[in-house]
């Protein structure tokens, strides 16, 4: 679980991540920078550690690949709000330890 999608890639250079970290020092920025996010459908819980500025699309695809689901048929919800691929934890005002719920695509006809 600890190995997340982010670990593999080198952290982006300092200036870019200055937005949220601000002047809180290197350690504080780093602490702020990373969020632990739990992604759960009703059966599985997967924890991701991502940066605030990382697009959640990465997380979503990682989860889908791990669970063997097609991204088109899965909806990620953060507090009932749909998470779009372009969203980042920043835009969704996510906190450390927040949960993304994974729902099936809603389809109805009758």
């Amino acid at each position: 679980m600890a190995d997340n999608a982010e670990n593999g890639s080198p952290p982006p250079p300092g200036p870019e991540m200055g937005g949220s970290g601000g002047g809180g020092g290197a350690a504080g920025a780093a602490a702020n920078e990373h969020l632990n996010i739990k992604v759960t459908d009703n059966n599985n819980e997967v924890f991701f550690k991502i940066k605030r500025s990382t697009k959640l699309e990465k997380l979503m695809t990682a989860f889908c690949e791990r669970q063997g689901k097609t991204p088109a048929s899965v909806r990620f919800l953060f507090e009932g709000q749909r998470v779009q691929p372009a969203d980042t934890p920043d835009t969704l005002e996510m906190q450390d330890g927040d949960t993304l719920e994974v729902h099936q695509e809603q389809v109805g006809g009758c």
């Binding site: 009932g80 969203d87 729902h103 809603q106 109805g108 006809g109």
Partner: protein
Amino acid sequence: MPAQAPTPRATRNSRGLRQSPGVSSVDSCQGDSARVSCHRDNRSTPTTSNFALALEAAADPATPTPRTRYAQPTPHPAHTLALEAIPVEQLQPVTPNPRARLAAARPPIFPPPVSLPPTTPYVPTPPPRSSLSLEHPWVTAIKNTPTRIPRRAASPRTPVRHTRYLTKYIDITPLLPTAPAPKSPGSESLTFRQRRDEEGEEKFARELWIAIRNDHYMKGCWCGPPNIYNSREEAEVAAGHLRFYVVGSEEKNLRVLQKKDDFSWHCICGNNNYHAVYKNLLNSNGKRPAEDTEIDLIAQIQNSNGNKSARSIDRVVPTPIDPARHGEAHSQTLKPAQAAAQVSSRSMWDEACGILSRTVATMSSPVAALYDTLQKHFCGDSYATLDTRRTDADSDAIVVKRLKRQSPASPVEQSPSKDGDDGFDDLLWADCPTQHIGSENIQDVYLFIGTQFQDIETGKLVYGSSVADIQKQAPDNTDCSASIGIFKYQELRHGPVLPEELDRKKKEKWMETVRAYHDNLKGCLRFIQEIYCVGGILEDVKRRYAAPPRRLPLRDIHFRREALLAAKFLDFLRSLDIVRDISAASYQTISQMIVDINAIHKSEMLPSFVELREDPIENMPGCFPEDKVSAMEEIPADEFECEVLYERRFPDPAPSDEEARGKLGDYKMVLEPKGILKPPKVRDDAPASPKYVATPEKHRKLSFINPVSKFIPPAHIPTKLMAPHEAERFLKAKLKAEVLRDKHSTRKFEALQTVSRQDDDGSIRLKDKWSLEALEKDDQEMGLTYHAHKYDGFLNDLHDDLEKRAEAEEEQRAKPPTRLAPQRHMVQIPLPPLPSTPAMRRRAAHLLENDTSSPASSSPRINPLRTKAEVQRPKPAEQRRAPRTLEEFFAEDDDDLAISVAKFEQLQIDRQIRDEFETGIRRDAEEKRKREEEKARREEQRRLEEERRRQEEERRREQEARRQKEAEEFAALTGLRQPTRPLIIPLSEDWNCKVVNAARANPAAELVKTLEGQPLTRRDFVEKLLPPTAWLNDNVIIGSILYIADYINKTKRATDQEPKCAAFTSYFWPRVLSHGPSACGRLLRKAGVRKANFLDIDTVLIPICAQAHWTLAVIRPGKRTVAHIDSMRGGGGDGAVKAKLLELVRFILEDQFVEAEWRAIDYEAPRQTNGWDCGVFTITNAMCIAMGLNPKYSYTEGELTLQRRRLAAILLNEGFKGEFSLDGF
């Protein structure tokens, strides 16, 4: 005769043929074999030669004996010297030579061919033996090699094997690419030396000698075995194409003397058999390929002696031999050897060609051919014996007897015994099983094996790394044969012991071998006991079978398997040197035991159990001993194969009872049954079973072409005869056709008219055609005269009779209808009969001629073709009038009756007109009355209808008023109204194209983004929206509903945070349900719904997806209503949802919530009847509600397929703008 033979003698001599200096001129004239025989004659004892001479003379008086033909050569001085050195008593064998006896016993079957060098009865020439002191030790050693008395002589009943083996030799000795063999006379070839060096002097010499001798015997060569001489000089003067001599006393001192240009081991003494074989060996060029036996005999001997790995022998047996093919095959098999030999022998080969061609010439003489034929006739092809491998009885190879594997003989030969078992004809049960081998021998071997067994049991074993080592280690005077045997067995099983091997492994191997050796010894002992002890198997078998059966399956298959193992082990034991050292007798004993034990394995009769019955027929005059096929056959012991080599293709068809019973674990070979009829092939086209289908009768008439049948009537003869009534019809039709101006019909009748001849018709020139001469000529040509004479009168009478009868009938028929015109009106068109007879035709021709000459004179119309009698009595009706043409006939026809008919018709018409007039008046009056009545009725109806309409209108108006009032009330409640124009209209062409393109887009491409930020892909359109029965997904629903809210807000100039219409996603409601409204603050805020502005919002749209069904929850805070629109319920909603909505409102408004104000209502909406449109219903309802329209009046269910396209277009358009603007509803 040999002198006359065109032999290139001179050249041979010039080549430096090594000859003894004392060879006479006569001798050198002869072929090699001649010389040999001469020499042999020289050396042979006078008694023997005389005897042989007498024999030959007796056998073939016509043939001059060699003695007479050839001058007795003067013995060479050296030779004489050699002879002198030999004591006389040694020259004369003490025992009569078996060969000589054989020759004496056997009458010469065929005279030797004339062209061949004279035959000398075989007298084995003892080598020129000097006294023991003179003879070289090697010579003695070689001479002492066990020589066997030829079997043939010992037991004449034993036949030779009439099989021909194709044998492939593989020379395992590595042949270095050697230089060509030295040409210098008398020197040994390189190969020869090489081999000798490798194999050791004594062994090599012995085996080579044996090989050569065997070759001789095998080929039936009559000359003696090669001799070994004490010195080169001696050898040079001696006879024989191959002479061995000993040089000095040191090692490697055996030399061979070869003729320079004949490097064959074999002799060419000219035996017929040999020549036949020889001929077969010629290749297609007529040349003899390099003989295999030359070098490879040695290899073969070597191979057959225990070196099992080198034994690769292909047997192709026994086939009736096609000489040419066989020769080829043989030469093919020889190729490897040949190739090896050729390296060294090529140059010599070239030189040898001359001699060979001479030999060929000799062979092809007619007598040889005759001999071949005779031989074939008597012996059959299969008798040709070519077993180049076989070591014969005379060698030290010990021959064992075994019962021949007999293929099921033909029924004549086979005499099935009473119990159904086919026994051997000439076998009897032996009294004692040891009879065959000899009880002493058996005991000897038993003892030998038993000692080894004892040694192992008691542990008297020595372990060593080699045989020598073992021998060294062994304590003195102890028998270490067991140890050596085990060691060899280990080598056999595990390969040679390598020095670098681990001790542990060595020990393991050794122990394993000891165990196996022990077991095998035990098995051997057991078998020997069982077979040879009195009261063993033999007693049982005797009890069971009266006569020796062909097949003798003993015990079960395990027993037989063990027998194979035991036989193999005995084979191994036999190959041990230690065994061979004991004695040749024990070697043979073991071989015979192997045969016996192996027979058990092969389920054959054990040779020890039977003995041959004396056959009285054998000595019948004219019967050759060889002709009798014995049950026993002989094979060299070395050759005996433990494995089953015989063919299994034709097993005994009738298995014995023993086998049929079958035991557990006993396997039988099940052969494909032959001779069982296969099911017939079913052909599709043919019936399943052959049924008798009668050939359809052919109605075929044999007919000759009759000239009459070919007769084509001339044009003037009418083709048709018309009776009067026919004519009448005909004329009427014609008239009608003319009246109607039917040209076709008219023409047809005119054509007919020409047929009915008219006198004044000048179209026919009778004179031209109908002259008498012409007619007669025709008659003759057509051969009508005969028919005419024959049937003339008869046909005429018949015709008259028929005509009369027809007329009578006609009269009868014409009488009753009175309306018909009287008889005289009837027309008879005289149609003459066919002038079928020449007489009649002639008459007719006469008449016609007369007619044409005076046409007017024939006013009383006479049928010109009638006979005179007929003409004289014309019919009354006919006579009275005969109208010329049809027009005349009609003109003349008087019409009293016709007129009266016309009047009558007129009268009738008048009456009819009158009637009609009256009825018309009557009808008029009636109609008038009816019309008036009708009018009155209609008036009344109209009045009633108007009244009804008025009432309906009133009712409708009332209803409408009521409805309007209700609608107004409803609208007042819901704030909904009717749309001013239809909501769902077809798309424009442009947008149709765009939708279609979207459906064809790249699957991964992001076609458009919803307000939520959700990208829509082709999947959302193609799979979830556009197909008429697709279920909509959340992307489409949320996207559309957000666009609706956006449109409303934009048109009402509301901001996102102060909206007039708020919309939620479909994930809002699940969260409300699961977490309660309190957890949705974020979502509410995002939608712009707060306590402060909530009551200013017109519409809140909440799409709900529950159990695969889309519904819409609506809150209209302005109207203080909550509603749930379910398309399945026609706009009605679920109470639970409404309650939850109210709860939500209460949560939002908190203290501002006045429960009394809020109501849960139902809207009216079209009802969904299918199973797929609820999403579209939901969106459309949302549109209507948001715009304040009553969904019920805004759309129908049928429009929703179109609405799907519209929605797709709206989504692609990113909202209700442009064409899709909702303004003005």
